[in-house]
């Protein structure tokens, strides 16, 4: 007959009971808690990935928007530059034309002034010549010269009158 040491048996039984109890009341809740925790973390990871994906999409969308805004901005800048260049050209052309107009006006005025001055000068020259001639004649016309003048000038005048009379008779 086998001699059984009951204390060992009891110890084994106690151990088994302890293990069962531990499994029942410690391991299972722990495993469940871990699973729950793991699931929660997975959900959080999934949510985070979804958020990350959404954020990435949003980032791409924002980048596209930024790109569009940048293009629009460049387009507007280019348009504004073109408009400014056109305005600048118009202003320059207008100023040039105005300048040409003023220049022509001044040239015209200057020409008129020159012509006026020359006209005055011519008149003055003629007046001076006339004065000199009159002075000379006053000293040079003697009764003899006067006789010659009367004869010569009357000869010319009477001849002209005779020619005119002949012409009117012929008519």
């Amino acid at each position: 007959m086998i001699n059984v040491d009951w204390s060992i048996v009891f110890q084994i039984i106690n151990f088994i009971v302890l293990v069962l109890l531990l499994v029942r009341f410690l391991f299972k809740p722990a495993v469940q808690a871990l699973e729950s925790r793991s699931k929660h973390i997975e959900e959080q990871i999934s949510a985070a990935e979804a958020q990350k994906k959404a954020a990435e999409e949003l980032r791409i969308k924002l980048e596209e928007e930024e790109q569009k805004i940048q293009e629009k901005y460049l387009e507007m800048i280019e348009e504004a530059n073109k408009e400014a260049a056109k305005v600048k050209e118009d202003i320059i052309n207008e100023a040039y034309q105005e300048g040409e107009k003023i220049k022509k006006e001044y040239e015209k005025r200057a020409q008129k002034e020159i012509e006026k001055l020359f006209s005055q000068l011519r008149e003055e020259i003629v007046e001076i010549v006339e004065t000199v001639v009159v002075k000379i004649l006053n000293t040079q016309i003697t009764p003899e010269v006067q006789t010659q003048l009367i004869d010569r000038l009357l000869e010319e005048a009477v001849s002209q009158i005779e020619e005119q009379m002949e012409v009117s008779y012929e008519k």
Binding site: L137, V145, L149
Partner: protein
């Protein structure tokens, strides 16, 4: 013969020779008329003579000749300038 009074303007009083010359020329225009000269002295005409009778005026004064020369000079100068 009809007598015609003629106004004669000269810068100096007329000499007999000058009167004869004037009458000689006037008779060429109106041989049937006799001319009486009404003398007038005007030094401003410078030389020559101005004769007027009826509606006829013969201006042979040096002053008028000078005026014509002056006008011609001005015209010529104006033409050259333009």
């Amino acid at each position: 013969m009809k007598n015609e009074v003629v106004r004669v303007v000269t810068p100096l009083p007329l000499t007999e020779e000058q009167k004869e010359i004037i009458k000689k020329h006037l008779s060429r225009l109106s041989p049937q008329e006799d001319f009486t000269l009404q003398e007038e002295v005007d030094p401003s005409i410078l030389g020559g003579v101005i004769i007027a009778w009826g509606e006829t005026l013969i201006d042979c004064s040096v002053k008028t000749q000078l005026q014509k020369i002056k006008e011609r000079m001005l015209k010529e100068m104006l033409k050259e300038a333009s």
